[in-house]
Symmetry: C2
Subunit: 650 residues, 2 copies
């Protein structure tokens, strides 16, 4: 038949000088059935690969009990891993970075709380307690924890649909805290149930569109603050506005944007953009105090309560007409903030070459929010801007979060009166500067270049968020992404293979121009699992390939074997197995050979074939080369020896 | 490097005696980029493969205009294909089969109309007009058209939720006809928009469970008719029932079931089960007339209107509070009847080796229902039982439907008074006999054997339909099927490959026990498209493979190359390409080689890599063998020549 076995050994010669055993003229290799597994075994493997793919218990195996307990405690509280080894040198680094992020966190906190339509003080509360919780439970060394713009915006706008933050600020606050509770619950549940892959459905394309859309909304919203307008109304023109506010707003916006540009151009100068918000707050506050801003129509923050976070368990409401709203808001903000937190954690972990356990992070962020909502904190997560600054400032451990937290504590206890004169307009400028960074044109262009469909998904998210709503925009984009995946399954590619001359390698005729068809054979590769959703299509498409080859495209009147290359068919279901039965019936006068059916596929085909004997053992091959070699010997007259007439597809 | 090119040629020797050109020591084959395509070209190909995969215009190409027109007319009206060639011999066959199915259709029609809570006469109307429409438009030669049990049951039970057929029979009839209109519209739209793949989502597993569940419901329902009980109530015990009804019902049920068994055992005696219902109707009617049934508590059909289908356009209502219901009912019954019609059409087409165009069939069935609803017909489709009898009785063309239709016409015009005394109980017996055939225990067992998850889907459909409702039962089962497909995408398999000794073939180490690892290499096959939903998983899983190989499982301290076999990665999206960037970063001190990236994947990888230069051209290979051969030469000291120490995975 053929003798590749002995000749192919030449490959091996490269890595070993001894050839152990060379069979003289080996037969085609039999397609072995895989080892038997019981249903229970398969279920176990499936559960492990699906839900415990990271094998979290691996480190415990074979350890003595005491060590197991220590590892267990460290698993639950990652702080136990690094705290014992903590030293003064590390503290020095963490102190610097902690103070740096505090200087960013304080103005950001106040601004984002305003973005969420909440009292500014909430932003400071949320920068005090959650970081302390994260330090104990989190496994990232770089994550800077606190309120973030996206989650703040989404929470603010979703709750606003039902309750006005101006007319009923108390109820609004209660709903925000309750939403935070549900967000935390949901986040922790995802981690505990190991369903973290749900956040993967918010693909980069979706986030890109969503963040840009949010940035547009937020920027427009903040314009009113910047222009000193309280509410956009149809009568806007007759509302009195102050040129002083506009001048101040624009000036500081320009300063902040310039600072941002400098840090983008020279990453070493990261502290310029990190410190700029606080400097702007200080300068604008002094300015406002000096010129008595309120007399010039510049609105100021006003009196802020002094003291640490008050308990807020009494503010959580689990009944009433708004329960649906808070659950929905919790779900969406929970997912969004989780996505940001996990992505940021992973990014910096990859940069510094340590590992972050996704499921553990979800539990940490979830618990942080559950604890947070009982101490007057609204939703928090790992913030990209804080983490970047934290990392750039040289943070070594999560201790920098503690330092930041302490700095916020000092502010809460002693410095609150200083913010009395801070102009609201400066907060708008800080927010705009933050969200403008969310619009990533080069990434959108790359998307267009690589995958047009992903670009479309991005556009749907972008316009959906702007013109419909956050939740529908996201839902539409996710739906479209899933539809694409389903379409790929429903319409799998089938590709005709040919031989690369002078080898035994069979590849896509269209892709490898030098490849050539083997007359008498139609070799197709099926590029998807075969299941209920695509058997009809595959059946029709394969028959059309045969017709095309026989009729016009290839003018091969002697087609005798259809060879299906199944390496890419990762699985079949109970409908999928019927495809082969149907094809066997349709190809009565031709041979149907299967090449390299994978373990699972082979098992199912054999089970389904019991009693029918439709699948011929001798028509199963390990490689296309062996299939062609073996079947060629049975080819009828006209094609044998015609290889010179090989036709190439155009 | 290697010399497989020359040696592998030995395969070719089997089909050609001349070796055209033998390069002496060829290099590894370069991974060629595929020919360039513009976005527009790719869009065109995508649309063609997705929506016009059957290439319906192929037959028109290169034909003269006149021929094109004829082909076009035949395409729209398949009757033009066979009618000109029709002859007396064909007519003889069709006449016999037409009359045979009429004898089945008349009692079935009356029974199924009752199942849909509609007046029995509707069943006869629906067996008269729709077959005539189908004859003109349909492309199946075997399809027997008329009302079917599943769609009748579903329509009856869905409409009953809002309107009582007993209290307001007129409104109920109007809703049924309007639902039929929407069903037809929806069916035709699916065909025109070429979205026929939607019905593929009702997999065999779902239909199996759904039909069995429906059969249970219907059988229970019909028991009341069989036992002479008008309504199941809590006071059932005190409702007077007649033993005569019970005796008659049970007797005829036994006769019908016996007739069915005979035809199953001996397929040649198909006419016994085909004729049994009519015979039973005749005997029971005579009996009822003779013993004056109404005096014995046996309920009879009563007076039926004489004459052909009255127009019913005035009965279609497109406003009012029930619009949502009729659209929903139309959608579900439309999909279900389409599924049955298409499946039956395809089954018999495959048996007799002709082709049925799915999209055209959808238009035909859809138009049939749209026309039907204007002539007092409720939903119809290709019925399995009628088609089977039609085929067995030797039907040659769709003309047998015309014969059946004429027989029904004669019945409507002249024989209606004969049904006056037909006992209702006989209809119950006919229905039970029909639906019992829907319970397919061996198929369920096969499902269990082949795919446990499909079995679960079947159970969900079964219990969902019985205990919740038709629409939720179906939705849950479809949702579960889609979830499974999504889980396969989210958690793709990665498999470690090893070399089959004495060859250059690399296969799953677990599946092929004789395969052995190549020290220094980790060769992984990724078995799914790489996209947003699985990059995180794949990244983690690949790193875990590396850890396992280095740490304990394989004790390979010299791992230097990770080779990813990408034959099964049919596509990547914009998120997918980042996996390779991330892996390259994570595997800084190891080499990452890609084997056989498919055309689309290669293009996207290169586009994403522009400017980064992370993907090394010399780390792309056409086969694993060539990758190993080529990279082995760069392996560092300890592993070279150690092949004898190959470790095999247990």
């Amino acid at each position: 038949m053929h003798n590749s076995g002995s000749t192919m050994q030449s490959h091996v010669v490269d890595i070993t000088t001894e050839v152990p055993e060379v069979p003289e003229v080996p037969e085609a290799h039999p397609v072995a059935p895989p080892p038997k597994q019981s249903t229970l075994q398969r279920l176990k493997i499936w559960i492990k690969e699906t839900f415990f793919s990271d094998d979290p218990l691996r480190q415990f195996r074979g350890q003595p009990l005491q060590r197991k307990l220590i590892l267990g405690a460290q698993y639950v509280f990652p702080i136990l891993e690094w705290a014992p080894k903590y030293n003064l040198k590390l503290l020095k680094s963490d102190l610097i970075s902690g103070i740096t992020i505090a200087s960013l966190a304080i103005p950001q906190g106040i601004s984002y709380a305003k973005l969420a339509n909440l009292p500014p003080i909430l932003g400071l509360y949320s920068s005090f307690v959650p970081p302390l919780v994260y330090v104990v439970l989190g496994s990232s060394k770089d994550l800077g924890v606190g309120p973030v713009s996206i989650a703040s915006l989404v929470m603010g706008s979703m709750l606003q649909d039902e309750v006005s933050p101006i007319e009923d600020p108390d109820l609004f606050l209660k709903l925000a805290l309750t939403s935070t509770f549900f967000a935390g619950l949901f986040q922790a549940a995802l981690g505990i149930l190991r369903l973290g892959f749900i956040i993967d459905f918010l693909s980069k394309a979706i986030l890109l569109g969503f963040m840009a859309g949010s940035a547009v909304i937020v920027s427009l919203q903040q314009l009113k603050s910047l222009l000193g307008i309280k509410h956009f109304t149809k009568k806007m023109a007759i509302i009195p506005w102050s040129w002083q506010t506009i001048v101040m707003g624009i000036s500081f916006l320009v300063i902040l944007l310039l600072a941002r540009q400098v840090s983008i151009k020279k990453p070493k100068l990261f502290w310029i953009s990190a410190g700029a918000p606080l400097v702007c707050v200080i300068i604008s506050t002094i300015l406002a105090f000096a010129i008595k801003a309120q007399h010039h129509g510049i609105s100021i923050i006003g009196k802020l309560p002094k003291g640490v976070n008050p308990a807020s368990t009494d503010k959580l409401i689990f009944n009433g007409s708004h329960l649906g709203l808070v659950i929905k808001t919790g779900f969406i903000t929970g997912i969004l903030s989780l996505t940001e937190g996990i992505a940021v954690g992973r990014t910096f972990a990859a940069l510094r070459n340590y590992k972050v356990d996704g499921n553990k992070e979800m539990m940490a962020i979830g618990l942080m929010n559950v604890v947070g909502c009982t101490t007057s904190c609204y939703i928090t997560t790992g913030s990209f801007s804080r983490s970047a600054v934290n990392n750039s400032a040289g943070a070594k451990t999560a201790m920098s979060n503690v330092i930041m937290s302490l700095a916020v504590l000092v502010t809460l206890l002693f410095l609150m009166p200083l913010f009395h004169y801070t102009p609201n307009v400066i907060l708008g400028a800080i927010i705009i500067t933050a969200v403008i960074g969310l619009i990533d044109i080069p990434a959108a262009y790359l998307l267009w270049k690589i995958d047009k469909f992903d670009f479309l998904v991005m556009l749907v998210a972008f316009f959906g968020v702007i013109f419909i709503s956050v939740q529908y925009g996201l839902a539409m984009a996710v739906g479209l992404s899933i539809l694409k995946v389903l379409l790929q399954i429903t319409r799998p590619k089938t590709v005709m293979l040919g031989r690369i001359p002078g080898t035994d390698i069979y590849r896509d005729l269209y892709h490898y121009k030098e490849a050539a068809r083997v007359p008498g054979f139609l070799i197709l590769r099926i590029e998807a699992p075969i299941n209920f959703a695509n058997i009809t299509y595959l059946h029709e498409r394969i028959l059309r390939w045969i017709e095309e080859v026989e009729e016009n495209l290839m003018k091969d009147f002697s087609l005798q074997f259809v060879v299906l290359e199944m390496s890419a068919v990762s699985t079949v279901d109970s409908s999928g197995v019927s495809l082969f039965k149907d094809l066997n019936t349709a190809l009565e006068h031709k041979g149907l050979a299967l090449v390299n059916p994978l373990a699972e596929v082979l098992v199912k085909l054999k089970k389904a074939d019991e009693g029918h004997k439709k699948i011929r053992e001798d028509y199963l091959f390990v490689t296309v080369g062996e299939a062609v070699a073996s079947l060629s010997s049975t080819l009828k007259a006209p094609t044998v020896g015609e290889e010179v007439q090989e036709t190439v597809v155009e």
